[in-house]
Symmetry: C2
Subunit: 330 residues, 2 copies
C-alpha cells in the first residue's frame, strides 16, 4: 500500500491512499483518520485499507482525484519518536575527517544513533525555515522505517516483523553547530532542525525484491539547484534496519509510529556522488586539496527522489523544496 497525508491544519493531517503509480489518490480517513492512527491500529485497519488500495489501482474508487503533492504534509507530520542511525559507514568515516572528531568507538560493530525531534516533520514541498546561513545549512538524504509497537529488548532477528512502512527523509543538518554538540557528548540538538519527508510512505511489499536484508535496494537521486549531486545506493548500508531497531529497543519499548532512520545514504564509489554537502566538501579536500563547495544559501532548492528499480520514478515521490530565512525578511 502507498499512503500520503493531506495537510488539513491539524497535528496529524488526514489519511490518503495513493495509487501505485502515484498519479491518483483517495481519502481513507473514514478507515483511519490519519497515518499514525493506522500504524497504531494496524491489524484492525489494514484489511480495509488494502481493499480500497486495490480498488484505487483498478480505477474503481469513485472519489479518486489526481495527487497534488503541494497540498501534502509529511506522511507522519509528528511521530512518537525519531531515532536516526548512521549506518552507512562510508559517510561516518568521511564526517570524522570533515568535523575533525575522534574515531567513534566500535563504529563497525555497534550502530550509532541519535534521538531527534519528532514533533514537527515538514512536507515534501514545504519551505524550510532556518535562522542563519552561517549555521552551515546542509541536506542529508536517507531512508527510514515506521514501526508498530516494539517490545523492549527485541532482538534483530525478530525486528523486521515490526516494520509497517518505508519512507524517504531529508534530515536537515547545520554543520557549523554539529562539531561542538558532538564534542559535548550530548549529541545533536541545534544541529538537527526539523526533517522533511518525501510525500509517500509505502508498505515493504511494494518494493518486492528491492526490500532485502533490512535495506532499501534503490538509488537516491539528489539534485541541488537543478544540478545533479549524487545517486548513492541503499544496498551499501553497513547495518540493516533490523540491527538499528534492535539497537533502539535495547533498553526501552518503542511506541507504535516510532521512526528509525538509516543515516545519510553514502557509497564508497566516488562517481556516485553524495547525498549531503559536507561529504562532498571533505572529498574535495581529500582528492583536490581544497574545499570548493559552500553550504546552502536562502532560496536554494534541493530535490531528492529514490529511483525506481529500472531507473524510472521512485516509490516515495519527490522531495522538492527551498530553504528560506526565519524570521522572514520584511
Amino acid at each position: 500500500m502507498k499512503f500520503a497525508t493531506l495537510a488539513d491544519g491539524g497535528l496529524d493531517g488526514r489519511l490518503l491512499l495513493v495509487s501505485r503509480d502515484l498519479q491518483q489518490a483517495c481519502d481513507a480517513s473514514d478507515l483511519a483518520p490519519h497515518l499514525l492512527h493506522a500504524v497504531q491500529h494496524w491489524a484492525q485497519v489494514a484489511p480495509a485499507l488494502q481493499q480500497r488500495y486495490d480498488a484505487l489501482n483498478a480505477g474503481q474508487v469513485a472519489g479518486a482525484f489526481a495527487l497534488n503533492t503541494e497540498r501534502l504534509a509529511a506522511p507522519l507530520p509528528r511521530s512518537p519518536q525519531w531515532c536516526d542511525g548512521s549506518a552507512f559507514l562510508n559517510h561516518g568515516r568521511l564526517m570524522e575527517r570533515a568535523f575533525n572528531t575522534p574515531p567513534i568507538p566500535a563504529f563497525d560493530t555497534v550502530p550509532v544513533m541519535y534521538q531527534g525531534a519528532s514533533d514537527d516533520f515538514l512536507g515534501p514541498r514545504a519551505d524550510v525555515p532556518l535562522p542563519s546561513e552561517a549555521d552551515g545549512i546542509d541536506f542529508e538524504g536517507e531512508f527510514g522505517v515506521v514501526l508498530d509497537e516494539v517490545p523492549m529488548a527485541t532482538p534483530a532477528e525478530r525486528a523486521l516483523a515490526h516494520v509497517r512502512l518505508l519512507v524517504q527523509i531529508n534530515d536537515w543538518s547545520l554543520r557549523a553547530l554539529g562539531p561542538r554538540e558532538m564534542k559535548s557528548g550530548f549529541g545533536f540538538l541545534q544541529a538537527k532542525p526539523s526533517c522533511s519527508w518525501a510525500p509517500v510512505a509505502i508498505t515493504p511489499d511494494e518494493l518486492g525484491p528491492h526490500w532485502q536484508d533490512g535495506r532499501v535496494h534503490l538509488a537516491l537521486q539528489v539534485h541541488w539547484n537543478g544540478a545533479w549531486f549524487g545517486h548513492p545506493h541503499g544496498r551499501e548500508m553497513n547495518f540493516g534496519f533490523h540491527e538499528l531497531i534492535a539497537h533502539a529497543a535495547r533498553t526501552r519499548r518503542l511506541s507504535a509510529g516510532t521512526v528509525i532512520g538509516s543515516g545519510t545514504v553514502s557509497n564508497a564509489a566516488r562517481e556516485r556522488g553524495s547525498s549531503c554537502i559536507a561529504e562532498r566538501r571533505v572529498i574535495e579536500l581529500l582528492d583536490q586539496g581544497e574545499i570548493r563547495t559552500g553550504f546552502m544559501r536562502f532560496g536554494d532548492l534541493v530535490r531528492m527522489e529514490a529511483c525506481g528499480p529500472e531507473g524510472g520514478p521512485g516509490p516515495f515521490g519527490v522531495i522538492d523544496q527551498r530553504v528560506v530565512a526565519y524570521p522572514p525578511k520584511a
Copy 2:
C-alpha cells in the same frame, strides 16, 4: 493550578485537577480531555480550569475524591519532545570525572542538552522495567518545565512567558552505557530509558517566590531503599530555564507540550548529598579514595520529593517506585 493524569488505558490519560494540599482531586476531562490538550489550547481552557480549581480548594466540587497516586500516569504520559539540559555544572564536572570523558567545550557559557524519548513517560508509582542490572541502573532527580508553542529563535528574555507547567522528573540512566554513547558524539540513547514523573504538574504561580530567575527554589529530597541519599537545592542551577528554552529553540520551533529538563539537581556542598548514584560514587572516589556504592538492583526502591518551602510536603507529590527486571522472571 495543580494537575494530575488518571491512567485510563489511552495514550494521554484523563485530566484531573488536584487540590493545593494534594489531598483531593476532581475530573476535569470535560474542560480538556487530557493535560497535553490543555497545554495545546491553554488560552481557551485555562479560565474554566482555574474556576474549577478554586472551587476544589474551597471544597465546593461535588464529585471530588481523595487523590490516589497509585492510579496516576505521568502528568504527560507522552509529549511531543523532551530536551534535557545539564544545567547544574557541579553535576557535569563530577560526571566528567566519573566517566573519564574530556571536558565539555564552553560548558560554562553554552548549555548542554540531549534529546530524549518522550513517547513513554512512566507514572510516579509504576514499576520501572529494565533489561539488566549490569547496565548500571541509576536515578537522576530533576525539575522540568512544560511549554506552550515556542517560535524558532525565541530569545531567553522572552522564554519564560512560554512556561505553562513545572514538573519533577526522575531521568533514569544506565551508567554502563553512557560513556560509549558520549564518545560516539551522537549522545545518549540506550543510556536513557523512559523517565518517570512525580504525580502533580503545577502552574508557576503555585510556587510564589520559589519560582525565581527561571529556577525552582526548592530542595529535592531523595531516598534509596528508605535511606536518605540527598536533598540538593534547585537554586544552584547555573543556567535558568529561560536559557535552556532559548537553547532548544535556536534552530527549531518547539511544539506545545515540549518538556525541558534541568538535568540532575546537584549542589557543591557535600553535606547536601546527591540526586544520582554516579555522583556519590565519584565523590567517594575523590574524598575516600575508593568507590563504595554500587548501582541499583532489581527490587530496589527510589523515592523523590521536592520539599515545600518550609520543609513540609512538596508541590509535586512523591515519586516512589521500584526497579524490576524486563522481561519479568517466570
